[in-house]
Structures are given as C-alpha cells and as structure tokens.
C-alpha cells in the first residue's frame, strides 16, 4: 500500500467545514437543497443567511427554525468524534474528478485518506447484492489484481459484489493501491451491519466517502444517489454481476451520462444474476475476461482524458487467477460423473440434481460429498455449483 495521504478527521475541520457540516445536518436537508444553499455562498455566510432568513436559496425559510436552534460547533464535534472529515469543492482533499461534475455533492464527508484518489486511476467494481459464488470470486479476483496493478478499486461496500471487490483489494500485497468506497448511509452507520469490519478496514487503508450526514440510515434513494458519485469518481465502471433491472444499472446510467466507459463480466445465460451484465454486453459494453481487459479499458479511458495510464506492473491473467480452471479428473466413477454433469455453473438445487440424474438421494449425497471433497463442486444451503 502506498503511504497514506493527509488524514482527515480530528485536526482538519476549520470554521467553514464546521458550518458546511452543520448545514448538511439540518433536518430535511437534501443534496440538492444543500447545493442551492452553498451556491455562491461560503458556508459561514450561508449559515448566517439561513439563520437570518435572508438566504435566497431558502426563500420559504424552511431551515431557519432548525438552524436558529442548532449549534454548528456541536456538529463539528460530532464529526470529529466519528472521525469524519468534511470536504468542500474548493477545499483540500475534495476529489478532483468531482470538481467539474454536474452532480457533485456540495459537501462530502470522508473517513480515511481522501488523497489516495489523486494521481491514481480508479475502477468501480460494482454489481448485485445477491451474487453467486462465481460473481464473488470474479469480483474478489478483479479487486486484488487491480489493486496490485496500482488501480484504486472503487465500490459501494454493499453485500455481494461490492464487498467481495473491496475484500479482494484489501487482500492485495504491500505497495498496492488502497481501496475507496462511496457509501449511501452516514459514515457512522455501517450498512450492512455484517460489513462493519470491512468498512473499518477500507477506511484505515484508503477512504470511505459519503454525502449523507452522520446518522443517515439506509433508505431508498440514498443508494442510487451514491452510485452517481461512484460513477463520477471512476475512470472505468466494471459490472460483475447484475440482474435484469438491478440497482447497478443506475451506476451504469450515471457513467454513460459522463462518458465513462462501462465494462461487464459475462456470465452464464442460465443465471438470473448475470442477466443484466449479459444484456450490457449485447448492448456493446466491453467484455471483461480478466484484469488485463480492465487495465486496457483504463488506459484507453485515461488516454482519452489526457491522464497518465496505470503504471506498468506485471499483471496476472484470469480473475481469481491463482490456479487454472479445474478439470475434474477422469478417475471419477460413473455415479459421481453423472452427478457432476447434472450440476451447472450456477447454483443447482438438490431436487434438480435428482431429477436430472434419476439417482437416489443417498447416492447423490455420497457423490456430492466426494465431489465437494475433491474440489469439483461448491456446496451451499441445499445447492451445489461447479467450481
């Protein structure tokens, strides 16, 4: 991992940042309203104008009452307690990629080292929350190898693909690029709860951004808004797995509006979790077979924007690329072979295997145990898939 940039948090909150945070934390505040309040106003001035009821961005004095009773210093203390930095578009640490963006957040909260995004290419690795083992393996493999190639892995810390990509990036060796996350909830509200440790690890190694004020719970709307920031920060968006109308498609739309290339990982046509990505491929997205495909797309994208390409570290080929794809041995007996043939690359349930093989449950139980033991099959709760 490269040396962490200047850390946000305890010492980084000046008066402007505190007042910006205080505005963001007013009840009823939305990113759009906040942008209106800070348009042409410095935060301290904006705050005073809101309290005085003279702010042209608050003609109905919607926020006057709340602001009069609020103490900006308390919000500042709250941010410091949560170790959350407050980034303003013209201030230090605010991502350069967002500076000219039409949907740029007026205030961005950050935990960790927001500087890690500077001078490094970033690739968003996103996808469905209900991912298959295949999708998780690909995402983890891409995450690790991209990080090892010096590319910041950008994702949303959600279940499934997002978490796998971040976990993969964190697993990369010393000197790799740190991961960056953009989340939809407040920085003090890890969501999903199961990812609390992952969240901490990303904040420690790289940075976690959020435009939501502290304490914002997961609710509809915050995640699509978060996706636009992910797209805006990325040089390339890679969709690993996505359902036909999955939430990842909002990231794809946001990227397309910003002319950011979108790549997709092909999947089984039998897998509903790959329906969205396969549709993207049919629409002309670049297919991602391995990390090299992503790096090529990143080079092209950065060349088009006049930025330096990722440094030329050696790249191993093949997502997950530790071992070549397993060829099941020829020494399997007839029963095990027919069970193996009956299991798809996508999760296949017990009953489907019974139907396809016509074998008894006891034979299938014995055969699958052998196949799982040999590493030919992955086992789950009532299903198997080919490894």
């Amino acid at each position: 991992m490269s040396g962490p940039g200047p850390a946000t948090g305890r010492h980084a909150l000046d008066d402007e940042a505190v007042h910006a945070a205080a505005l963001a934390h007013l009840p009823g505040m939305t990113p759009r309203r906040l942008a209106r309040l800070l348009d042409g106003f410095r935060p301290v001035m904006a705050w005073r104008a809101v309290v005085a009821g003279t702010h042209p961005g608050d003609p109905h004095r919607r926020f006057r009452g709340a602001a009069s009773g609020a103490d900006p210093a308390a919000v500042g203390d709250r941010c410091r307690a949560a170790d959350a930095g407050v980034l303003l578009p013209d201030g230090a640490g605010y991502p350069v990629a967002l500076a000219g963006d039409p949907g740029a957040p007026a205030v961005l909260f950050a935990r960790g080292h927001p500087g890690v995004l500077e001078a490094r290419p970033a690739v968003a690795v996103v996808g469905t929350r209900s991912a298959t083992p295949y999708g998780c393996r690909v995402a983890a493999g891409l995450g690790r190898e991209l990080a090892e190639s010096g590319v910041v892995v950008l994702s949303g810390l959600a279940r499934g693909i997002d978490g796998a990509a971040h976990a993969g990036a964190l697993g990369a060796g010393v000197g790799s690029a740190p991961p960056v996350a953009v989340v939809g909830t407040g920085l003090d509200r890890p969501y999903p709860a199961a990812h609390r440790l992952l969240w901490e690890a990303v904040a420690a190694a790289g940075c976690v951004f959020s435009e939501a004020p502290l304490g914002t719970p997961p609710r509809p709307g915050v995640f699509p808004a978060r996706n636009r920031i992910i797209a805006a920060l990325a040089d390339v968006v890679v969709v690993v797995e996505c359902h036909r109308s999955g939430g990842s498609l909002t990231t794809v739309d946001a990227a397309a509006r910003r002319s950011i290339p979108v790549c997709a990982v092909p999947g089984s046509v039998l897998s509903p979790a790959s329906a969205g990505t396969n549709a993207l491929l049919a629409d002309g997205c670049t297919p991602v077979r391995d990390t090299a495909d992503v790096l090529t797309a990143v080079s092209l994208a950065r060349a088009a924007r006049g930025r330096p390409a990722p440094d030329g570290r050696p790249v191993r080929v093949g997502p997950g690329g530790t071992e070549p794809p397993h060829r099941p041995g020829r020494d399997l007996d007839r029963v095990a072979r027919s069970v193996l043939d009956a299991v798809d690359d996508v999760p296949t349930t017990v009953e489907t295997v019974l139907l396809r093989t016509g074998l008894s449950l006891a034979s299938v139980a014995a055969a699958t145990e052998e196949l799982v033991g040999r590493g030919c099959l992955d086992a789950g709760a009532g299903w198997w898939s080919r490894r």
Binding site: G160, A194, S274, T349, A362, A381
Partner: protein
Amino acid sequence: MIATIPSAVLVGATATAVTVEVHVSNGLPGFTVVGLPDAAVRESRDRVRAALLSSGLPWPRRRVTVNLAPSGTRKGGAGLDLPIALGLLVAGGALDADAVRGLGFVGELGLDGAVRGVPGTLVLVEALPGLRVVVARASGAEAALAGPGRCATAAALSEVVARLRGRRRWSDPAASELPVPAGPAEAPVDLADVRAHPLGRRALEVAATGLHHLLLVGPSGSGKTFLARRLAGLLPDADATTARAVVRAHSAAGQHHPVTAGAVRPPVRAPGHGVSPAGMAGGGGSGGAPGELALAHGGVLLLEGLEGYAAGVLDLLPGPLDEGVVRVHRPGAATHPARFLLVGTVQPCPCGEGGPPGACRCQPAARSRHARRLAGPLLDRFDLCVRVERAPAGALLGSEPGEPTAAVAARVAAARRRAVARGVAANGALAAPRLAAEVPLDDASGALVDRSLRAGGLTARGVDAVRRVARTLADLDGVDGPVDGGHVREALLLRGDRALLWGEGGR
C-alpha cells in the same frame, strides 16, 4: 314414583356424569326441569312428549319434576332427551326399574321417536364407567371405541323400550350396524399425480415413516401444497389408543371424525392464516374445548404458507412439539394430547425465487423481514427441510404417473414395524437419551455430524433429529443393524440448511 337414569353431558372439553331424576306425583299436571338446565334441555320437554306419543307410549298427565344432579353444574345439549324419556316411563310405571339397571342413556329424540346422535358421544360414554350406555345407532362406531361391553345402539325410542320390556340382553353394536360415513366424498389425492419432485417424494416418505416434522420450501407454483396434501395418505391407521384420543378430541370439540369398523384415519388439520392463538391452542369461549393443535393429535397439522400466520400462533407450536400436549389455561385448565406431524410450506423469500444465491430479486430488508417472521426455535424443530423446485414442463406432460400412494404406504408401514419393535410408534418419538443406544454413529458418520456442527449449520437439537432421521432411513432400507454413513449423509441433506430461507446474505 321416582326414577334415576344415568347420563352425561359435555362441559367444555370433558364430560360430566349426570343423574337424571324424574319424580311423578299427583298434583296439577306440569313439567319442571331443575338443576341448571340450558335452553336445549328445557326444550327437551316438548321433544320427549312428542317422541313418547308418536312411539305409542304414555305421557303422564301428572306433576313431573326432573332434576339433573349434580344440580350445581350447568348442563347443555339435547343428549338428555333419551334419559328423561326413560325416566318418565319408569317413574310413570310403564317400565320396570330393574329393566334399566346397569344402563346409561345418551341421545337426542326426534318428534317421531328417533334416537339421534349427539356430539361427544365417546367422551360421554367414557364418563359413565361400569355402565353400558345406549346411544344412537349413528354414533355406534364412535362409542364402540370405548371398548367391549360399554355401549349399545338403538335407532328409535320404541326399539329401546321394546328391548327393555323384553329383557333381552344388550350387546355391543355389530359391525353390520355401524354406519358407513356419509361425509362429502373428497376427491382422493394420490402420490401418482406427483410427476416430478424426487426430493419432495423422498421427504414425504421419510416424514410419514418417522413422523419427522417437514418443511417444504419453494417458489410459488412449485407444488409444495400439492405434495403436503398427499402426506396424510401415507400414514397408517391410528392405533387403538390414538384412535380413541382422536375421536375424543373431535367429540369434545363437537366435531365429527369418521370411524369405520374400528379404523380411524389420522386427522388432517389445516387451519388457515386467520386462525387465532385461541383457535390453535383451544379454550376461549366454550370452556377449554380443544383447538387445532389437539385436533391434529395423531395426525397431520398442515400449515401452508408459514409466513402468513400471526406470530402468536406460530409461537404456540414449539411447546406441543416438544411435550406432545397442549395446555389450555382459560377457562379452567385442561391438558389435551397434541402429538402431531407438523408439515409446513413456505416461500424462501417474498419473491419466492430465493435460496440459491443469485436468483432472488428481493431487497435485503424485505428478505430479512420475511425471515424474521419465522422464529429460529420453530424452524429448528423441523427435522426435514427440503427445497421443492418447479417441475420441468417435460415431467408434467406425457410422463408416466409416479409411484402411487399405496406402494409408498406399504413401505412406510413395513418400516414402522421396525420402530414399533423398538418400543415407539415412530422414530420421531425416540427419546434423546435412547439415541446413543438405538442410533450409534460410527467414526465416519460421527465425523460427518461433527463437521456440520462446526460449520454452524446444525444445532444440538438438529443432531438428535439427524440421528432419528438416519434411523428412519435405515428402517426404510430394511437395515436392522446400526445406521451407516450413507444414512447419516442423507439425513443431513434432508435436514437441509435454514439458510434456504434467507439466502446467502445472512439474516
């Protein structure tokens, strides 16, 4: 003249012996019933009068007092018609008091003198120990379950009187007298209709053999209900003790469970989503009457769409599942046997496609809300949890019919005999302390179970369940010796993983 005739009435779920005392004396003609009669009993005067007259028997034109002892208990129902009529005949001198000695009477009278059955006949007969109880012929099969020498049947008041006057011995109802149940003929459901579902079939067979509680998980339209409805057909007839308990429970609830020539089919109770906790456990308005749990005793409790039941209803299940009885606390306190085979069906998630990762399209919040509706303690009590898939079209059209119920039921019965030799009705009733002796695990099987325990997919209760199911699988294979690794492996697979219900992301 005074006459005393033994009879019985239902008070809540239990029967109370009642002595019908009839006093006929001189005075203004009149008819008084005392001893806390309800409206149905007070009206019996008119029914009894008409029945006597149309049977050609005398109605005393004197002062009649009927007392129902014990006088402090409220009495209801029309079953006292017959004893009141006989009391009148004895007290009026039309019948000899000796003729009714050793007999009890329960039955409603029609205006034409016909003797009609009343709810709870079996319980009422059992409430009169040491007496032979004359009941309506229609209730003969039910009453006969009380044992030999306990009942006799009659179709009309005139027949009763003729028999009493003739001093002929009363005998148990002959098989030819027993009525053929004339309920609405239900379309027979047969496993032959099940074309695909190899796993579902196997699970049904194992559940029926060992009385292992079964949870069928699957998307809508996959045939969960179709399968579950066919489970009861695999169960053998109830044994004598259970048969009595089944009929007694239905009797006490005022319902009719068909009895044919001593054979009682296991009941199937399938309360809908609207059932209340009181409807499930019993009690409520009518004094500790049995609820669905008690009515399912000896049979199947089928809960379709588990997630649709009120939490208070599902929370009632673990107790009876463990103890085999349901306690009714209000009004009064009653304990009913409630040892049933629980069969549940459930969708894995709101969209129904969940389970294997990648298929479900539900929001995680919706999925965890769905999973939260099913409490862990309840899910843990399902010994078998299998996922049923939608049958492929090819299997539905033009394929051969599956194995019929009769063939599977024969295997079930054969395997049950091995369990009976072990001293239990089915392996599901094997007590935990006996498992070590009855289902020893060799090293390989022990390692299998141990691995599942460590992986977190199995609880301590689950280990016991797996052993019981493995024993059932060995019984089905005709193995008398210890279970082998294959049985344990299959039992683990049938036990399934509760993660089926909330997919990969965890609860």
